[in-house]
Amino acid sequence: MKHIKVLLLLLLAFTACKNHDNASHPKKMAVIVSTLNNPWFVFLAQTAAARAQKLGYETKIFDSQNNTALETDHFENAIASGYSAILFNPTDANGSVVNVLKAKKAGVPVFCMDREVNSANAATSQILSDSYSGCVALGKYFVQTMHKKGNYVEILGIVADNNTWNRSKGFHSLVDYYPGLKMVAQQSADFDRNKAMEVMESILQAHPDITGVFCGNDAMAMGAYQALVASGKAGNVKVFGFDGAADAIQAIKENKVTATAMQFPKVMAETAANYADEYFKGKRDFPKKIQVAAEMVNANDIDDYIAYGKKN
């Protein structure tokens, strides 16, 4: 009986300490992002962290370097270090599911930003860009500015990411109806500017007669443009990107890039942080998935836009 009393007292003391510990430290949110080697994702991660801090949370940004193994390490570290929520930009639509499920099992809600994981129930909510619709609009402008004819190339993003294919499918859902437009090469450059430059240099050797290039993001569009400048063909080839990154917006103003699709990373990042905050306050009925519209931007309306979102 005496032992039981001592045990109960110890348990009470432990619980009190634990409660005190929770009360004295604010909850923490981890921001795990696919890469920080692209200014667009830096903006996404920093905006999510800034919003979470404004809401009173400690934050830390983890860079997965487009590597799912490293992403797994970050999830394990975040869970072990007591992060209460993860604002997540996945590296791989299928490969990242296991990490989200691991966090879910540990009671840590995950809010996906910009990119989705292929699971309806793993993440608490997924806030995504409507890449497909943005690229349908880009495809229409591509057909109009190319006057329905010419050879072109497509530079894809990371092949394991759904956004890569949603963008490609949106573009081709329209462009493929025009037999005068012939895609002579389609290669991945992993959403990376330097890789896109190398890919474009190599394609130009085999296909010097192209008149258009559609890239899955602005970083690759800028890389492709660099390769075109180096080969002396920049004036003959129309370059299309996707994102609304600062250098692409400037390039549209200077007639170097023809068009891009403006995404709104601020909306996605802040919505994710707000949702996590609402989760801690007891809300549970989040939409499993919401999309943020992407808007086509060209030289005609470039003055209405600034990088990463519209002017207010």
């Binding site: 497909y132 349908v136 949106g170 329209l174 909306v267 999309q291 519209a293 808007e295």
Partner: protein, 206 residues
């Protein structure tokens, strides 16, 4: 002895219960079929057009009345009459109407409505999500991945391009009076009511 027997019996019953509820047998071909089950966007789009869009013609607002409301109070018109699966500036409106054909070009048939509004009926660029999203009846959360959702738009637009537009385009001429039903897109930040382009799902020359 009796206690020991009872204990053994309970252990046996519990073990059988646990094992029975832990193991399931299924035919391998059934599991494979389930894993490979693909979303049939073509069938979904056909059903959506026949069972949802066509029957809605009687209840959707006319383009003339919608434009009048948009000119008076655009935010309210967006709130009441537009739908969008995305959050952002884009809204899609269902509408129907009639008008006299004023010109025909490669991409559109232009008409003048009874309220003297110039409207374009798209006959070439029938792409995107206007017809899928304007009625506001498809829920994004019913789909595991957005690719399936996008394929609905793709298949629906394909039906319109292949079945609705060609017989109309083959016969329509300047001066004809036509009826239409469809959807159009507006950007609430960049509101332009002078260039309305309707993506049709119903077209008739009177």
């Amino acid at each position: 002895m009796g206690k020991k027997l009872l204990k053994c019996a309970i252990i046996v019953v519990v073990s059988i219960f646990v094992v029975y509820n832990s193991i399931y047998f299924k035919k391998l071909d059934e599991v494979k079929a389930s894993a490979n089950k693909e979303f049939n966007a073509t069938a979904y789009a056909r059903n959506y057009l026949d069972k949802k869009l066509i029957p809605s013609i009687g209840t959707i607002p006319s383009t003339d009345s919608l434009l009048s409301i948009l000119k008076q109070n655009a935010p309210n018109a967006f709130k009441t009459y537009s739908h969008a699966m995305d959050i952002g500036n884009i809204g899609y409106f269902m509408s129907k109407g009639q008008g006299v054909v004023t010109s025909i070009d490669e991409s559109d048939v232009s008409i003048l409505t009874p309220d003297k509004q110039n409207i374009k009926i798209a006959t070439e660029y029938i792409f995107g999500n206007a017809l899928r999203d304007a009625p506001g009846i498809i829920n994004i959360n019913d789909f595991t991945n957005t690719g399936d959702l996008n394929s609905i738009s793709s298949e629906l637009d394909k039906i319109v391009r292949n079945e609705v537009v060609p017989p109309f385009k083959a016969k329509v001429k300047k001066g004809d009076k036509i009826e239409f039903a469809g959807a159009f897109e507006l950007n609430k930040e960049h509101l332009n009511l002078d260039n309305i382009e309707v993506i049709p799902f119903y077209l008739k020359i009177q």
